[in-house]
Symmetry: C2
Subunit: 151 residues, 2 copies
């Protein structure tokens, strides 16, 4: 899988799973809906918090990111046919955006991907993940997972 192919799969994925690290050093993982943003070689994911800002102080993944911004997201094939199984992992650094034009632009991208968000926009913070590494694995290639570079 090339890096371009991996990013195309990420772009098309409807859900990813986001891992963060809690302040006590244990891992935390939940599903997230997200949008991939690429411009001039910068790879970025955006996802949003549905709840109102006042409630977000209680959201574990935001608490984790404030203490340790290192995150990882995996998207995968979710298939029963194991010969077709693959995953792509994005390793990066998260940044919480409480308001402003970048948040508005990210919400517009999310609404284009998810009609549910167009009908009912998220009320909380947006989180940007600046992707530092793209790794992937695919059963049919039979090789170990690898970090993908620009081809």
């Amino acid at each position: 899988m090339t890096k371009e192919e991996a990013l195309a799969r990420v772009r098309d994925a409807r859900v990813g799973r986001l891992a963060t690290v809690r302040p006590d050093g244990t891992p935390h993982v939940i599903p997230v809906v997200f949008v991939l943003d690429e411009e001039e070689g910068v790879i970025r994911l955006y996802w949003a918090v549905d709840q109102k800002p006042k409630a977000t102080t209680d959201i574990q993944r935001l608490r984790n990111i404030r203490a340790n911004p290192a995150v990882e997201v995996v998207v995968d094939s979710n298939e029963e046919d194991w010969d077709g199984v693959w995953w792509v992992r994005l390793t990066g650094v998260a940044r919480i955006i409480e308001d402003g034009s970048e948040r508005e632009a990210a919400l517009a991208m999310l609404a284009r991907k998810y009609p549910q968000y167009a009908a009912s926009p998220p009320e909380g913070a947006v989180v940007a993940i600046e992707v530092r590494r793209v790794s992937a694995w695919e059963a049919r290639e039979g090789n170990p997972s690898e970090t993908l570079r620009d081809s």
Copy 2:
């Protein structure tokens, strides 16, 4: 969702996503196939490494577990209908089982759940996750995520 309902969803799930923490303190997440084992109040997941033992020293998730056995697994609804969305998270401690009767018993359970494993058993270590906390969230219940207790 009760704890019993949450565990039934975990039992039926075909894939989970496993988060571990790398020795450098960053998170790592990949899909895993697993089996749920419950006996006398003990909740345990087993998953297996396909590769031969000699190759497993290079597997990042095992390196992570050796340095920090704290893990988390999420299973979720993977649905486009957001009203039906849910997830269940299992927080626990992992233990690597290189050989012996517990490994054999876990492989037999995995083979009953996944025909692919019956045809071609995993050759590497089995990992047991002793589950310490079950948390869940469901869109239709409209409440924040919560730790589930025995009812």
